[in-house]
């Protein structure tokens, strides 16, 4: 299993996760969660997660074409996340006495769907740490190659 494969899989899996999380949050935003600080917090977490993903992607060594495709999806998810329906002022709906489902919280539950992703275990920036140089025997040109740890 090559390092590049792992990196690519990492991003694809994260995108799969965010897709379902965003849809679920969207579903809950149709309800009283729209007025809830739980949904607002989940939205913030998703936005930050996506921004981190974008940062990791920019620093990764996956092919530019592939990178661009993933980046487009990250950007579109960011737009969806930012567009989640939320009231101007939010407060915990349990504290307000409107949410009576028990101690659970739907937006936090939706966010935890991301925890289903357990592989690849290494994050891309840890996977490829150093750059070695490959010197062409014919022309002597230096080409960087990733060293996988």
């Amino acid at each position: 299993m090559s390092g590049g494969w792992k990196v690519n899989t990492y991003f694809k899996n994260q995108l799969r996760g965010y897709d379902v999380v965003l849809a679920t949050l969207g579903g809950f935003s149709e309800d009283i969660c729209r007025n809830c600080i739980g949904l607002s917090g989940a939205q913030t977490k998703v936005i930050k997660g996506l921004k981190k993903l974008r940062m990791d992607l920019e620093g990764s060594l996956i092919p530019e074409m592939e990178k661009e495709k993933i980046l487009i999806r990250v950007e579109s998810f960011l737009k969806v996340a930012e567009g989640l329906k939320l009231a101007e002022e939010v407060s915990c709906q349990k504290t307000s006495g409107l949410c009576k489902i028990g101690p659970g919280c739907f937006p936090l539950g939706a966010l935890e769907l991301m925890n289903q992703i357990t592989e690849p275990t290494t994050s891309p920036e840890k996977e490829v740490r150093k750059m070695a140089k490959l010197i062409c025997e014919v022309c002597g040109a230096e080409e960087p190659i990733p060293v996988v740890h």
Binding site: G27, T95, K100, I101, P103, C105, F106, A110, T118
Partner: protein, 411 residues
Amino acid sequence: MLKVSPVADYPTEAGCFLRGNDYSPVAVVVLLNAPYGTLPPEVQSIPPEIEKLVRVAIETGAALSGTLQTENIGIEKIVCNVVGNPNIRYLILCGKEVSGHNSGTALKALIKEGINDKRTIVGSQAVTPYLFNTPLGAIKRFRGQTTLVDLTEEMNSEIIAKAVWSCYQENPTPFQGLSLCDPGAFVETGLSCRLTWKVKHPEEIESWEIDGEFLKKIKEPLEKKVGEPMKGNERIVSLTKRLLKVTEELAGIARLCIEELERPEEALREKSLEEVKPQLPIPMREEPLTEEELYFVNQLRGYRGVLAAFKALDRDICHDGCSLPAAVISASKRLKNLKVSLDKSFLPDKKKEKIQKELDEFEEALQGLPQDTSQPCQKTVGNCTIGSGCFANASLDLLKLVTEPALRSNV
């Protein structure tokens, strides 16, 4: 023994604490281990056993006694209030560790190790032990001024009372292996500092976000001056500037009041314009009157999210797998069961109809999702590489978040 007056605005930060004898050398921090999200910010419902500890500490002679829940803002408030009173030389930490926050270990680590250049408490097990809103001078002073009396996990009020009493004895008094006595006020004058609130939600900050730019943004201009007493004219200039600022703000408020009183009609018109400003329609549900109705309403809320998740998964590789169909079938069965329960319920017909309509809509949506379980598992065929987890099953599990009210036997 030297005792001094606390700063004029002591205690500088509001919080969930009681103020006792300002000349006492001890403050008591009781860890507030209460389920996340169930307490309002003003903490109206402190568990009685915790409130008892807070009260006992004050009644025994502590300067301050209160609860601590969060590992960032909570600790910052303690720092600000303690450095405002140089007489406080001991900090008694007691109560059960706050699950999730680990504020107790964070406070202990702060006193022992301090913070690093990212304003993160060194050696803390908490998730977000960031002190972004407190001047560095105050943190340094806090660590130098106080000695920790670690009674974490202790809930016995008699032991807390004994600890408080030992701290203000004139002669060294043994207590749980320590030798406690009142050493008098700290050598330096009190610091009057408040939270800058440059970061209102430190719990939302990820460690990777704390870079040079972030730290530059939160830098407090007064930070350099805290801990270094101002001299002569410098102090007068600083106070005059503050007075000027207060005067300007008061003048602004006065102007607003006069304008509103002189032009009431205009003000009213502006107000009505503000009211018609388009806002997102907030979904309103009629407050369920009975527990029976609440049961169905809660279930519907869960299904709304589950269905949205299923639809998203249907656009993904789960469409060709076996887990999504299995989850869809399971959700359908539960929905049918819910319908039967609704029929048997004693809800008024009108309400029944309304819920029935929503259930039918969900049923219809589920029918449009894949239900062929003979399709191959996407993990087995190598398409799903997320690990052992499963999005479809986890989405269905969202329904488990609804734990109240339990369905009554007559339904």
